[in-house]
């Protein structure tokens, strides 16, 4: 067997493996991630009121497997930035993000988290949390309604569904 045919054979094998193992596995892994998004318990400002209502009985976020709020960030998947991040909070938010395990997702909840919102010209407010973190889903509103949170959650689920098993390794700051 010369080199070229063996290469073709290996290529076919990897194709078959991808077809029969990797793709279904990716579906299963992503399915698990979709229905088990645990958020970090981090309240940065007044949008946490609407987050409370979202995890309450009427909007019941646990239907999608999302817990109300989770204490330690070592087990969490989603960092929900609930409103304004100011200059005192920003380093802490970054630390919390760094302590979360991969894969992790960031939701910017409310106008302040997106762009500074009402406080765009304040001396102590970040102009949007995407200046320090990579944001996956933006939810507009001041504060966003719980329905909007659910819509954003479904958007995040669709994003995860199309993603790879092993995302690009994020290099941590020391």
């Amino acid at each position: 067997m010369n080199g070229s045919t063996s290469n073709v054979f290996v290529g076919k094998l990897s194709e078959i493996l991808e077809y029969s193992v990797k793709d279904p596995l990716r579906y299963i892994v992503n399915w698990g991630r979709i229905y088990s998004l645990w958020p970090v318990h981090l309240e940065t400002a007044c949008c946490s009121v609407e987050w409370g209502a979202t995890s309450g009985p009427r909007f019941d976020i646990e239907r999608w497997g999302m817990l109300g709020a989770f204490g330690a960030m070592r087990q969490c998947d989603v960092l929900i930035i609930l409103g304004t991040v100011n200059r005192k909070m920003a380093p802490r938010v970054k630390t919390i993000y760094d302590q979360m395990p991969e894969p992790r997702y960031v939701i910017a909840f409310g106008a302040c988290a997106i762009s500074g919102g009402l406080y765009y010209d304040s001396y102590n407010v970040l102009p949007g949390v995407d200046t320090i973190l990579p944001v996956d889903v933006y939810m507009s509103g001041c504060p966003p309604r719980p329905e909007e949170f659910i819509q954003g959650l479904i958007m995040l689920q669709n994003k995860i569904r199309a993603s790879k098993i092993r995302s690009k390794k994020y290099v941590r700051d020391t």
């Binding site: 400002a45 946490s48 409370g52 909070m89 001396y123 001041c142």
Partner: protein
């Protein structure tokens, strides 16, 4: 020797956007240093760049689930400078919105109290019942939270049809529900163990530290701006100020439950007594305050909220000082937590109804 310093917050299930630096000896608290400022957004500075109408959404953001009460003091300050008299119907609608907000805020308080003592059902039930009152407020104002409903000179719009019956239904339902709350949550023996006699704030200390709101009334001081310095139509309405002499965490929670009862009675009375007529003054052009200063107070759900407004006749206020109830109660936290155990921090801390957003402004 065996001192341990733990910082509770800003990311902690028992603190939220706020930090307590706690020095522990074993399980006992030696010293507590509150470290607020994680939500400081410079409201007072921003207010100097905005005119009187633009400031309305800003001043409700600190206490967002208590927005009408926060604005009550602000619009009264502006009206005081401009010497406006609000139409009678507008005053009644203001009172209805303020009391709805009080119930919404108190239910939020109860819900988080549940989380802080480890009772998940106590979180869910008040959160669910809160939605009925949010629905009512949404019917009137069009928003879930942050209504921006009160304006200098009245309220933004009249109430739609059907609010009256729906409000009465909600109040009747919730009165029954409150009895259940007392039976299931307040009289639970473990809950009583955790809160009765814990976190005492004596009457003298409460007065000296200048705390406000339910915290003050739970320490046996009968003080409420609605009675002491009646504004809007509160002097025409019949209601009680619940006062407790127990001074502990349980009493503070109980005051909140009693206040919700009184609020529902106020809403029912106002809906009955409300005259017809306009709801706001027709203020053509800009709202501009003449030079002068005014100190205005209102009783929000967490306590007295005050605005000190200094104007030099400009479009924008010269200086606005906003004193929120949580900022006044901040001083009580290190005082009250001293000598307790680590496990007491969440229930005692939350029993003061300290809302960091409101304190930091």
């Amino acid at each position: 020797m065996s001192e341990l310093t733990v910082s509770i917050g800003p990311q902690h299930p028992g603190a939220g956007h706020f930090r307590l630096i706690v020095k522990l000896d074993g399980d006992k608290i030696i010293e507590v240093n509150p470290d607020p400022g994680y939500v400081h957004r410079g409201e007072e500075k921003i207010a100097e760049y905005r005119n009187y109408i633009q400031n309305i959404p800003h001043f409700e953001r600190p206490g967002i689930h208590d927005s009408s009460n926060m604005l009550f003091a602000y619009v009264q300050a502006v009206e005081g400078l401009m010497k406006l008299e609000v139409p009678e119907r507008g005053k009644y609608i203001r009172v209805i919105m303020a009391e709805l907000n009080r119930i919404i805020s108190h239910l939020y308080y109860l819900a988080i109290y549940g989380i802080f003592v480890g009772h998940s059902t106590m979180f869910m039930w008040p959160m669910g019942d809160r939605e009925h009152f949010i629905d009512l407020a949404q019917m009137i104002s069009g928003q879930r939270v942050g209504f921006a409903f009160l304006l200098p000179g009245g309220v933004r719009n009249d109430m739609p049809e059907g609010v009256k019956t729906r409000a009465n239904d909600a109040c009747n339902y919730f009165e029954k529900r409150l009895i259940e709350y007392e039976r299931i949550f307040m009289n639970n023996p473990i809950f009583e163990n955790r809160t009765k006699g814990i976190g005492k704030l004596s009457k003298e200390d409460a007065i000296n530290l200048g705390v406000v709101g339910p915290t003050l009334r739970a320490s046996g001081v009968k003080a409420d701006i609605r009675k002491d310095e009646p504004y809007a139509v509160y002097d025409k309405l019949d209601f009680d100020i619940p006062v407790s002499k127990d001074c502990d965490s349980w009493a503070r929670a109980w005051i909140h439950i009693e206040e919700m009862r009184q609020s529902m009675s106020i809403i029912k009375q106002s809906l009955k007594d409300m005259p017809s007529g306009p709801v706001k003054l027709n203020l053509r052009g800009q709202v501009r305050a003449p030079p002068g200063e005014v100190f205005s107070r209102a009783e929000a759900s967490r306590g007295t909220v005050s605005f000190y407004l200094v104007s030099n006749g400009d479009m924008n206020p010269y200086r606005i000082r906003l004193i929120t109830p949580s900022f006044r109660n901040l001083i009580a936290i290190p005082h009250i937590l001293k000598g307790l155990l680590l496990a007491d921090i969440p229930p005692v801390f939350w029993s003061l109804d300290y809302w960091p957003v409101e304190a930091d402004r």
